[in-house]
C-alpha cells in the first residue's frame, strides 16, 4: 500500500499538466486564501470592535453556535440555491467560498474579540488616563496585546479552511480534493491516500509558517520569549533578567480560541 502511494506520488504525470499536483495545489491554496481574506476582512475588524466597545458580544456567541452547521450540507444547499441563477463556473466557486468563509469567521472573530477583552484592565485604564484616545488605545495597546489570541484564531481558521477546501471537489471544482473524490469514484485508493497526505502536509506547512509569523509579530514582552535564561543579580542585589534572548524552547502551548 505504502509502495503504491509512493509510486502515485512520485509518478511524473502527477507533477505536470492541468490535473497535476502543482496545479491542484495552487487551486487549493487559491480557494483557501480567497476565503480567508474575505473572512478576515469581516471578522477581524468586527472582533476588535466588539472587544474594544464590549458591545455586540452576541455576535461572537452566534458565530460560534453557527459552527454546528455541517459544511458539506451547507455546500450542497448553497450550490442548489446559486446553481440555477448563475451559469458560469462561478456557480461552483461561490458555494465553496461561502462555506469556507462561514467556517473561518468564528475562530477569527472570537480570537480577535477574546484577545482585546483579555487585555489587562489596568493597562487599558492607564492608556486612557495618560491621554490616549479610543483609536489610539485600540491601535497602540489593545491590538498588540491581542495579537497572540488573534493570531491563534487565524491559525485555527487557516487549518480548518485548508482541510475543508477538499470538499470543493464535491461540486466539481479543482483543488487537492479532486484526488479524494476521483479516487473514490474509481476505487483508486493509493490516489485517495496520496491526496489526503498532500492536504495534511499542506495544512501543517502553512500552520508552521504562521507559527513563525506569530513568533516575530508578537512582542517578546507578551510571549515570554525573553525568559530564555536564568535571572542574574546585579551588584545592587536587584534581580536582573537577561536581555531579550530568543529562547530555543518550543513556544508555549497556544491558547485555543474555540
Amino acid at each position: 500500500m505504502i509502495t503504491q502511494i509512493w509510486a502515485w506520488l512520485t509518478a511524473p504525470e502527477q507533477w505536470s499538466g492541468s490535473r497535476g499536483i502543482p496545479t491542484r495545489l495552487v487551486e487549493h491554496l487559491g480557494y483557501s486564501a480567497l476565503s480567508l481574506v474575505l473572512a478576515a476582512a469581516v471578522a477581524l475588524p468586527l472582533g476588535l470592535w466588539v472587544g474594544h466597545t464590549g458591545r455586540g458580544r452576541w455576535l461572537v456567541t452566534g458565530a460560534n453556535a453557527a459552527r454546528a452547521v455541517p459544511s458539506l450540507g451547507l455546500l450542497f444547499a448553497v450550490a442548489m440555491f446559486v446553481g440555477p441563477r448563475i451559469s458560469s463556473n462561478l456557480a461552483f466557486v461561490i458555494p465553496s467560498v461561502v462555506v469556507l468563509v462561514l467556517l473561518a469567521i468564528p475562530p477569527l472573530l472570537s480570537g480577535a474579540e477574546a484577545g482585546v477583552r483579555a487585555v489587562d484592565p489596568a493597562a487599558r485604564d492607564a492608556a486612557y488616563g495618560m491621554g490616549m484616545r479610543g483609536p489610539e488605545v485600540l491601535r497602540g495597546v489593545e491590538l498588540p496585546c491581542a495579537l497572540p489570541l488573534l493570531l491563534s484564531g487565524v491559525r485555527a481558521a487557516t487549518l480548518q479552511v485548508i482541510a475543508t477546501a477538499t470538499i470543493a471537489a464535491a461540486v466539481s471544482l479543482g483543488g487537492l480534493g479532486r484526488y479524494l473524490i476521483d479516487g473514490l469514484a474509481v476505487r483508486d485508493y493509493p490516489q485517495m491516500a496520496g491526496g489526503a497526505i498532500l492536504v495534511a502536509a499542506l495544512a501543517l506547512t502553512v500552520d508552521g509558517l504562521l507559527a513563525l509569523v506569530t513568533r516575530y509579530a508578537v512582542s517578546p514582552g507578551l510571549s515570554g520569549k525573553h525568559r530564555g535564561g536564568r535571572a542574574v543579580a546585579d551588584p545592587k542585589g536587584q534581580v536582573l533578567a537577561p536581555g531579550p534572548v530568543r529562547s530555543e524552547m518550543p513556544s508555549k502551548s497556544r491558547l485555543e480560541v474555540s
Partner: protein, 400 residues
Amino acid sequence: MIRFEGVTKRYAGAPGHAPSVAVDDLTLEAPTGQITVLVGPSGCGKTTTLRMVNRMITPTSGSIWLDGRDTAALDEAELRRGIGYVIQHAGLFPHRTVLDNVATVPRLLGWDTAKARRRAAEMLELVGLEAAYGGRYPSQLSGGQQQRVGVARALAADPPVMLMDEPFSAVDPVVREQLQDEFLRLQRELGKTILFVTHDIDEAIKLGDQVAVLRVGGRLAQLDTPARLLADPVDDFVADFVGRDRGYRALGFRGAPPLALRDEPTVRLGAGVGAARAATTDRWLLVLDDAGAPVGWVEPDRLTGPIGPEHLHRGGTVARVDASYRAVLDAALSAPSGRGVLVDESGRFAGTVTANRVVAAMSRPAGASQVDPAGGEDGAGTGADGIRETAGGDPAGTAT
C-alpha cells in the same frame, strides 16, 4: 492647585433602588506643590474623587478646577496628558519595553522618538532604576520595580499635577516603605501638586502634607495636617479610623527631642573576649563596625571567642540624633540593654539614651535646657558615665 467645588457623583441604582452616592458635595483644595492624601474605608469614594480630576469619571454636579481652569471645559485627552497618573497595579503596557512605556506621554505629545527615549532614560534614573532596565519588558520586573516604572512614566512629560491611586499598596511592606521614602525624596526635589489615594492611614500620615479623611457615602470627615489629625480627630469616626496608638504615632511629628546623650562603652566587631569583658559595664555591650556604625549588642559573659556577626543581638532599632521622638523612643524601647542607640548624619555611633530620658524630655516645655539635670534616673547603674549634649564629640571608650 486642584479645587473641588461642591462635587457630587451619583450612580443610578438598580431598578427600584435609590441611586447610590459615591461622592457627596465635596469641597476641597489640594494646594500647589503639596501632597494631599485622600484616605478612608472602601466605599468612601476616594478613588472616584481622584478619577474625576482627569475626567476618567464625570461628576454628576459641581466643578473641579485645575490651576484656575475648569476641567469640564478642557479637551479630555489633552487634560489627561497634562496630569501624571499612577495606578495600583502600575498598568504598564506589557508589549512595550520599559523605556517605551516611560516615553508614552512624550510620544503622545508629539516628541520625536529619540528625544522621548532620552527623556525616558532620565526618568528611570530619577526613580532609581538602572539604564539596563530600559530594554526589558514589564513582565521581567518585580512589583516594586513596575511601580517605579509607573511613577517614571507619569513624570515623563513633567506634569505639574499627579494623581496617584494606591500606587504602593500591591507590594510587600518592606518594598512599600522603601518606595514611600523615595517618593518623599522625589517630591522634595520636584514639588508636584499631588493627590494621593490610599486606604492605609499610616501611609496617609507618613506621606501627606494634608490628609482628607472620607467616610462611606463620600462625605469629607476631616481635612487636616497629619499631626492635627492624630492629636485632634473631629469625631468618633475619624478617631476610630486613625486608630490605636495615635498618641505614640503623633510623636513621629515631634522633631528631635533636646536630649543629652550618654557615653557608651563600645567594642569593635572582631574584638576578643578579653577586650569585650574589659570594656563592659553591665550585661550588654554595644558593637561597632570599622566605620564606627553600630551593628548590634553582645553579652560579653557569654562570649567564647572573638565577636562575630553570629553573636550580635540585632533587635534594637537605631535612630538619628535629629530623628523624631517616636524614632528615638523606639530605639530605647527596642534595645536589649534599654539604652537606645543614636547615630549622627553619617551613620556613626553618637551615644545612647534611655526611655526615661526621652519621656522626661517630652514633658519638659520646649526651649528648656538641653542638659538633663536628672542624670541619675537611668537605672543602668554605672553612674560614672559622662553626660554629653547631642552635639557632643566622638563617643569615648571604644575598645579595639
